[in-house]
């Protein structure tokens, strides 16, 4: 009898198989196509940056959890790997390794662990790291390697501006949009991924495949990415419709830069996105609008990182005031 005591616990007695670590590994898996493609496009640099980012993120998570927070480090949940991957996806592949390590440190140390670790951080850690690097090291962070050139070298590469940056600079210098548009690659190139930019930004198609994978695996719901992209499309579409000479077309806005990466992988971060449908709508629309505002009127060519961080700050507020619609709340019978 001793060896065979009955177990007693409150109901429910069964549990679905999805765990945190499985969710995180699913996210990583969803990023793999884009990762593989960027290794193909950018070569060794992409591999190195990702490797360094992931390893250092895991290392910092482990060290901080063990020695500063004095608790059992749980790196196997994969969240540090996801943060590292996302950070790598957000920086140029020719970024010096020490900058990547600094980015990881800021992402994990300041962005995540200083708030108490997984589940407590108000801001997306990878974006905290990315924005920190962007503001502190703007030159390194905005020189993008040109695809297919110098694939075998890591730091000494041919660089170019991103399409967004190119257009922005051009407009600032008073060139006309039409002439500028002729110099950037077409939409199909953006979609397939042969634009200069960070690893995660290049191929819209592969990011969308990752998105579909995550939706099918029930890692995320479709709401945030679709609403963010939809808002960007409508808002930039209105601007474009109003003045096509000054504003680029909405498809261009969506396919260039980090729009898809941000909407699919960054804005959907569990911890930093709202919990109710009503909150999600406001959050996603906010990201879309702020992104376009920054791109069109702001100082930076790309704004989705800032947009997500700004909306992250509103998430606790949204969670507090936008409750789910309760059953039996509206008395409407018939």
């Amino acid at each position: 009898m001793e060896s065979n005591l009955l177990t007693v616990s409150p109901s429910p007695h069964i549990h679905q198989e999805q765990t945190i670590s499985r969710l995180m590994w699913d996210v990583i898996f969803a990023m793999l196509p884009a990762f593989a493609f960027s290794v193909y496009v950018f070569g060794l640099g992409a591999l190195m940056v990702t490797l360094i980012a992931v390893l250092s993120a895991v290392f910092f998570e482990y060290m901080i959890a063990k020695h500063l927070l004095k608790r059992e480090p749980d790196i196997m949940d994969g969240s540090a790997v996801v943060t590292g991957m996302l950070l790598a996806f957000n920086v140029p592949t020719n970024l010096p390794w020490w900058l990547v390590v600094i980015g990881s440190f800021v992402a994990i140390g300041i962005g995540k662990m200083s708030f108490g670790g997984l589940g407590n951080n108000p801001f997306n850690p990878a974006l905290v790291g990315r924005v920190f690097l962007l503001i502190s090291f703007p030159v390194q962070m905005t020189t993008w390697p040109v695809p297919f050139e110098s694939r075998m070298s890591i730091t000494d590469v041919v660089t170019g501006a991103t399409p967004l940056g190119f257009i922005k600079d051009g407009l600032k210098n008073g060139e006309s949009l039409i002439s500028l548009m002729q110099e950037v690659p077409g939409h199909i190139d953006f979609f397939l991924g042969t634009q200069p930019g960070s690893m995660g930004e290049i191929s819209g198609l592969l990011l969308i495949i990752g998105f579909l994978y995550m939706v099918i695996r029930k890692v995320i719901t479709w709401h945030i990415p679709v609403i963010v992209i939809g808002t960007m499309f409508i808002f930039s579409g209105l601007l474009w419709f109003g003045n096509p000479d000054r504003f680029v077309d909405p498809l261009f806005q969506i396919l260039t830069g980090g729009a898809l990466l941000g909407a699919i992988f960054m804005a959907t971060d569990y911890v930093t996105s709202p919990m109710t449908i009503r909150g999600i709508v406001i959050y996603s629309v906010g990201i879309g609008v702020i992104t376009i505002l920054i791109r069109v009127f702001g100082a930076y060519p790309e704004g989705i990182s800032f947009a997500i961080l700004i909306m992250n700050a509103f998430v606790p507020l949204l969670n507090k005031y936008l409750k789910p619609s309760r059953f039996g709340e509206k008395v409407k019978n018939g």
């Binding site: 060896s3 005591l5 007693v8």
Partner: protein, 379 residues
């Protein structure tokens, strides 16, 4: 450049000045007259905000004291008589000294004495477990062992003994704030007078079941055999619902009941060990079959766990007590609580415990009605 600096300085100082004026006016305009004694009393109070006095915090208690006509019912368990005396001086009233109290654990069912009959695998919370069922041993009255009392203690005066699975109160630190008493869903914790020379005798069991059943599941359960009642010379023991209860007011600490108790369930604390006779409970090992859950602790402890003698308990107590820095401010063993029966303790933070016992659940059919019918028909 210079101009910029000047403009900056001027505008900032201007802003500062305006803000200062607003603050000043508001502070004057909306000043609330408070009883100056409240601040004085608050100074004296220990600032632990434990709620042991029944108020939500020390400030609230100070306010209550200043307003009260009669403060004889009000007491700060942490500060004890010293603090209350000072409070009395501030308020200009005489404060009666109160007997010091301490929390005691009224369960002796350690792993060894109380075999597990099942394994609990739910949330680590005593109330959750006891809402679900009687507990992982056959005794529905005994300690659940998930440490809700320890969590409730603001003074780090309790810890779970891993060898016995029971909570232990650290004598020097316990302030008798009543938090553990309120936290325990089984009502095992009770405030008890510290007693003369810190010595006290109490029945460490609350099992009200018939002797046979109680004994079947726990070798140290009170069976209500009344031997203690017969032996007591001071009429201080009564048996109600198969359970012996000692009245601390009447008890003269003669230890007769301790010796006569067949279940060795009457605890005596802080008595010097007897030389001629082996200490209580120090019987030959009972070789109880152990469940997997308890083997770890029990195996390691061996002889120690064999006799959960009070002597052992006290040693642990002292060791832990002096190890810690806080020991110094509670070193004065005098800290006390309400007069009279420990049952009518200060009501404290008035969060009631969820009713865990089924008897109680049965009686409140009214409110069950609503929720139950929702679950009705769920296949």
């Amino acid at each position: 450049m210079n101009q910029t600096i000047i403009i900056t300085i001027v505008s900032l100082s201007g802003l500062g000045a305006v803000a200062a004026m607003i603050l000043y006016v508001v502070a004057r305009q909306f000043r609330v007259e408070t009883d100056p004694r409240i601040d004085e009393i608050e100074e004296v109070l220990p600032a632990t905000n434990c709620g042991g006095c029944g108020q939500p915090g020390c400030r609230a208690f100070a306010e209550a004291l200043a307003q009260a006509v009669d403060i004889s019912d009000m007491h700060c368990p942490v500060g004890g008589n010293d603090v209350m005396k000072q409070v009395g001086q501030i308020l200009g009233v005489e404060v009666k000294e109160k007997d010091p109290y301490i929390a005691v654990v009224k369960c002796s069912g350690s792993f060894e004495h109380r075999k597990k009959t099942n394994v609990y695998d739910g949330a680590p919370n005593c109330t959750v477990a006891s809402m679900l069922y009687g507990g992982d041993t056959g005794c529905a009255y005994g300690c659940v062992g998930l440490g809700e009392c320890v969590d409730a203690c603001d003074f780090e005066a309790m810890y779970m003994d891993e060898k016995t699975g029971l909570p232990v109160v650290i004598e020097d630190k316990c302030t008798a704030c009543n938090a553990c008493v309120k936290a325990c869903p089984k009502d095992i914790m009770e405030l008890w007078p510290r007693g003369r020379k810190n010595r006290r005798i109490f029945v460490a069991c609350i099992n009200e079941e018939k002797g046979g059943i109680a004994k079947k599941y726990c070798s140290v359960a009170c069976t209500g055999c009344e031997k203690c009642v017969d032996v007591c010379r001071y009429d201080s023991v009564v048996v109600e619902n198969n359970l012996a209860i000692i009245d601390p007011e009447k008890c003269k600490l003669c230890k007769d009941c301790v010796e006569v108790c067949p279940s060795k369930v009457i605890d005596m604390v802080n008595f010097p060990p007897k030389k001629d006779r082996p200490p209580r409970k120090d019987r030959p090992d009972r070789k109880l079959a152990r469940t997997k859950a308890e083997t770890v602790g029990a195996e390691a402890s061996g002889a120690e766990a064999g006799g959960v003698a009070t002597a052992v308990k006290n040693e642990q107590t002292k060791a832990t007590g002096t190890d810690t820095v806080e020991a110094k401010n509670t070193n004065s063993p005098v800290s006390e609580s309400e007069t009279g029966n420990p049952q009518d303790q200060p009501s404290g933070r008035s969060e009631p415990k969820p009713v865990a016992r089924t008897e109680k659940q049965d009686s409140d059919q009214e409110d069950k009605k609503d929720n139950s019918s929702e679950k009705e028909n769920k296949a």
